[in-house]
């Protein structure tokens, strides 16, 4: 059942639609006025105007109601929260502040309740009030509030008058325009003067009304502000006086005196008067004159302050007249769209001329030469870290010199070191060019910012294809990439602005056509009116075929700039810097080819092109609208574990948007999911470590054996990754990067080793268990942080363009695949522990967590595949989303005797749950833009129209 609020929203929407229709009806009536007798015409016009007025009034009233409703609701929520804060606060100063906040909100709600809120909400607010403490009853406050209420009503009325001015002036312009259309150009000077005089009088009258309303508004606003201050002061006084138990009026007087004294005291202090007095009292060394002089200074200061206050007040009171500019009016009838189109066309012409004038007489090499003139950029400029103080042993130097050895360089710690390294001494080289590099980069960046349009276009068109052969270095390429991105996005945004205005124009025309057509069809419409409507219809259709053609052209141009242009450019540069192949990936849901849909689209495409060629405006417009709505209907945006995505057959967007993966919620959520999977693995590792509690020495051995097994497994996995990486990372010097660290394994070892260091080895008993537990907890946190950091590192590099999509996937694969290796074993180990615990704790329902675990076990390849195709994760996440939140919440309430492993596992599951829920609750409006909404609105409108027509036929 729709709420009162939703009903109101719908009512406003329908009223606005009806208003549009009535305005059109009024215009059509005017055009057909010759077909009416004067009396009937006036009657009909008055009837339409009356309906318009009533609807406008109704819209205003409902909008105000909605605003009051929202405000009251928000404040009620605030109050609930503030009440809790109030009760929890010990410090009386803070309590007082909170109480004031509550009172402030109460007053606003009171006011809204007294106004025109619906009964239902009034009741709700009254109930809320009963919860509140200490309703204040003070005559002065009540009077002030009443005065404020009246002021607000007058203020609303002044605002209405200001708004009314816009409507009236719009009508005058309409009349002017219609009269000119009807009578044609002026033929005599008298005619022009008479025309101007007639409308000028009306305009001046309206302007006078507006000025008066504005003046009144300013006065009322000042009064309102002053009332607000008075009310606030009164409330404060009431509150404070109650605490000291004296009458509010007495308290107010005392407070004013104290404030005055404080102020004087401050001034006395500033001029050293207090000290002087004290000194005089003590030593009698200061003369009375001296004190008088100082006093005079205080007096002067006070006078000066007062003068400034007055000056400020005068300044504030000065009226700030804003001239009314006709162009600023939001008048649809002035047809701003066609004006905008003209402007856009002019801009197009200019930009074409500019493009022509910048015919390339030089290429990208010249531009790069300009950028680096006087600098000597190094290939490593732009890298983050610099090494220094490199020392190398003679033996190694000789070995390298002989050239007899090749090396595998491994960055993983093989084991714990027993002996400290001795200081190594011999100096070979020092790299000290960091500051210079920084300066070079800044200079190039500055020069890039100042490059002309022509230079940027040359870089954009040419440099990407040559970047690989040039190998100018990472730093310079990053800067060029960033600048070119900015350049292209500016261009695309300009195109999008033009597209937006053309879409609006076409859809508005279509709506207008629908209404005209229904009037033409109507039997009640007189023949003359019908003829006029037809003329009007033909008029608004003019140039639409051309407009459709220009939309298609602009769209293609922007698409070319972004998808094949900028995307290709960036990929080229990333490939150059990463020495990777050019292979890229896109993440989208594939569908079976819908032949029927394709045929329909092909039919529209052909028909639209034909209509444009023939200059058939109506056909072009109708096909365009049909095509757009077809695409929109087949784009179904839904929530999923990976954020908003289209589950329909199309991913339609009227404006051109970037396909940059870095902003893709899909990819972002994938990263989060991987982090959660990492956390789950950690939790299970913690469970493994704690087995010592129940299984004693035998189990310790098992844990150690397990560690060995895991270590072996990790090494094997490392080899697999290395091999695959070689296959994927073509051209990369894989030898230097081949082994990666398995964090979980190292942490497990760390746990064992730390305990070993402290207690001389693992031993049976409670102390060992608790040590294990605490280490397991520490490891959990460490592991989670490390995994998170590793993922964050990948995402940062990805977002800054240091890694391309494929590299990011590979890097994430390394993180999550290692986790997956241990997952299957540890899940099986964990479930019996959880079962035992669940038996003793009736409130603990294991099913949710177990489902999640079992799913991962049953789908061992899910995580790995996720990093290949990115699709399986969706199902994994959606499966996790099935866990009920109650089960996870219970875990948070578990008693203290829960073991660390259980806590770890539950937390991990809870995190997974959280991801699923967060993704499910993705906010509205993530997908699409203004024009997408416009198309949707048109679909709603069309459906409503269809329903209406069907009803009529029945």
């Amino acid at each position: 059942m729709a709420t009162y609020y939703e009903d109101l929203q719908l009512k406003i929407k329908n009223n606005k639609r009806e208003l549009d229709r009535l305005n059109l009806e009024k215009r059509a009536l005017y055009m057909s006025r010759r077909a009416w007798s004067e009396e009937n015409y006036k009657k009909e016009e008055a009837s339409i105007q009356d309906r318009i007025d009533r609807i406008q009034k109704s819209i205003r009233r409902d909008q105000e109601l909605l605003a009051n409703y929202d405000l009251s609701k928000n404040y009620m929520n605030d109050i609930k929260y503030l009440n809790k804060m109030y009760n929890a606060e010990d410090n009386h100063l803070y309590r007082e502040k909170i109480a004031n906040e509550i009172i402030k909100r109460q007053e606003v709600i009171n006011e809204k309740v007294k106004s025109n809120l619906p009964e239902k909400l009034k009741e709700e607010i009254k109930t809320e009030y009963q919860v509140m403490n200490g309703q204040l009853e003070d005559k002065e406050l009540a009077d002030l509030e009443e005065e404020q209420r009246v002021t607000n009503i007058m203020l609303n009325s002044a605002n209405d008058r200001i708004n009314k001015y816009n409507e009236n002036i719009m009508n005058i312009f309409n009349e002017e325009r219609i009269e000119r259309e009807e009578k044609g150009p002026f033929t005599t000077e008298e005619e022009l003067d008479s025309f101007n005089e007639k409308y000028m009088i009306k305009k001046i009258a309206q302007k006078e009304l507006l000025d008066s309303a504005k003046k009144r508004k300013r006065e009322l606003e000042n009064l309102n502000n002053s009332l607000n201050k008075k009310i606030e002061n009164r409330k404060l006084i009431l509150k404070e006086s109650r605490e000291v138990n004296i009458s509010p009026d007495d308290y107010a007087n005392i407070k004013a005196s104290v404030e005055k004294r404080d102020k004087l005291e401050k001034l006395f202090n500033r001029y050293g008067l207090k000290d002087l007095k004290e000194k005089r009292d003590k030593l009698s060394l200061i003369s009375e004159d001296e004190i008088s002089n100082r006093k005079q200074k205080v007096l002067n200061e006070l006078v000066r302050e007062k003068q400034e206050q007055n000056k400020r007040a005068t300044k504030k009171a000065l009226p700030s007249e804003t001239p009314i500019i006709v162009k600023d009016l939001n008048n649809e009838d002035i047809n701003t769209n066609s004006i905008l189109n003209n402007i856009n066309n002019k801009l197009d012409e200019i930009s074409k001329k500019e493009e022509k004038s910048i015919e390339e007489d030089y290429g990208y090499k010249t531009v790069i030469a300009k950028l680096v003139e006087g600098l000597t950029p190094k290939k490593k400029d732009g890298q983050r870290y610099r090494a220094a103080n490199i020392k190398v042993t003679e033996e190694f130097k000789n070995e390298l010199h002989s050239g007899n050895y090749l090396y595998n360089v491994v960055h993983v710690v093989p084991a714990i070191i027993k002996l400290p390294i001795q200081t190594v001494r011999k100096f070979i080289g020092r790299i000290t060019y960091r500051e210079e590099a920084k300066r070079r980069m800044e200079t190039i960046k500055d020069r890039l910012d100042k490059l002309s349009e022509k230079d940027l276009m040359i870089l954009f068109k040419e440099y990407g294809n040559h970047a690989r052969e040039e190998r100018f270095g990472t730093g310079i390429n990053l800067l060029i990439n960033e600048r070119i991105n900015r350049f292209v996005f500016e261009k695309v945004n300009n195109i999008n602005k033009g597209l937006e205005s053309k879409y609006q124009d076409l859809f508005n025309t279509m709506k207008e056509m629908d209404t005209i057509d229904s009037m033409i069809r109507s039997r009640e419409t007189k023949d003359e009116v019908r003829e006029n409507l037809k003329l009007y219809r033909a008029n608004i259709l003019k140039g639409k075929a051309e407009e459709v053609a220009s939309i298609r052209k602009d769209y293609d141009e922007a698409k070319t700039l972004l998808s094949s242009g900028l995307h290709g450019f960036s990929e080229n540069l990333r490939a150059t810097d990463s020495k990777m192949s050019y292979v890229g990936r896109r993440f989208a849901k594939d569908h079976d080819l819908d032949v029927e849909l394709l045929e329909k689209e092909a039919k529209y495409e052909k028909a639209e092109k034909r209509a444009i060629q023939d200059g058939n405006d109506e056909m072009a417009l109708r096909i365009f609208i049909a095509n757009e709505t077809l695409l929109s209907k087949n784009t179904k945006i839904e929530n999923s574990i990976v954020g908003k995505r289209s589950t329909g057959k199309k991913y339609y967007s009227p404006l051109v948007e970037s396909l940059d993966y870095r902003n893709d919620p899909f990819l972002r959520d994938i990263f989060t999911t991987i982090a959660v999977v990492g956390a789950t693995v950690t939790a299970f590792n913690a469970i493994n470590a704690s087995k010592v509690k129940t299984d004693y020495q035998k189990q310790i051995d098992e844990v150690n054996a397990h560690n060995e097994k895991v270590m072996e497994s990790v090494n094997n996995t490392g080899n697999i990754i290395s091999n695959k990486k070689r296959a994927y990372m073509e051209g990369m010097k894989a030898e230097n990067y081949q082994d990666s660290l398995n964090i979980s394994n190292v942490l497990e070892r760390k746990a064992l080793d730390q305990s070993s260091e402290v207690h001389g080895g693992w031993s049976v008993g409670t102390k060992s268990y608790y040590d294990a537990r605490s280490i397991a907890q520490g490891s959990y946190v460490d592991f989670y942080n490390n995994t998170k950091n590793a993922i964050a590192d990948v995402t940062t590099k990805y977002s800054t363009g240091q890694l391309n999509g494929q590299q990011a996937i590979e890097a994430l694969g390394e993180i999550s695949k290692n986790s997956q290796t241990t997952l299957r074993t540890v899940v099986n180990d964990a479930i019996p522990h959880l079962n035992n615990y669940a038996r003793d704790h009736s409130q603990f329902d294991l099913a949710g967590i177990q489902d999640a675990m079992n799913y991962i076990v049953a789908n061992p390849d899910a995580i790995t595949n996720m990093n290949r195709a990115m699709i399986e994760t969706t199902e994994l996440g959606e499966e996790l989303a099935k866990m009920s939140i109650e089960k996870v919440n219970l875990i948070n309430e578990l008693p203290n005797n829960i073991t660390a492993p259980l806590f770890g596992a539950a937390t991990a599951a809870s995190l997974a749950m959280n991801v699923a829920n967060t993704a499910g609750a993705t906010k509205k409006g993530v997908y699409g833009n203004k024009i997408t909404n416009l198309v949707d609105q048109y679909l709603d409108y069309q459906e409503a129209l269809d329903r209406k027509n069907n009803n009529r036929i029945r």
């Binding site: 042993t393 130097k397 595998n408 360089v409 790299i431 230097n736 590793a790």
Partner: protein
């Protein structure tokens, strides 16, 4: 630089390793060490380990290098050493 030795634990046994090179970085505030147990990998190449350590706390615990920027720096150092040795 004189030839230095460190001892690591490998398969539960203490193994003496040769230190090959060291360097540090002001950017990471870490020291770095390259060493080898003279073992030969499956591809016939000699295994070199590169790890980082905290120069303030000392070198009793070595850490793995996972940050790609750090790896890139190590790569530069190796190139530099190779260049200087020829």
């Amino acid at each position: 630089m004189e030839n230095e030795k460190i001892v690591i634990l490998k398969d539960g046994e203490e193994v003496e390793c040769d230190v090959l090179f060291t360097f540090d970085s002001e950017d990471t505030n870490k020291g770095y060490i390259g060493y080898t147990d003279n073992s030969i990998g499956e591809n016939g190449r000699k295994n070199i380990y590169v790890s980082s350590f905290d120069p303030v706390l000392g070198t009793s615990v070595l850490e793995s290098i996972t940050d790609e920027d750090e790896l890139s720096m190590v790569h530069d150092v190796l190139e530099e050493i190779e260049r200087q040795s020829k």
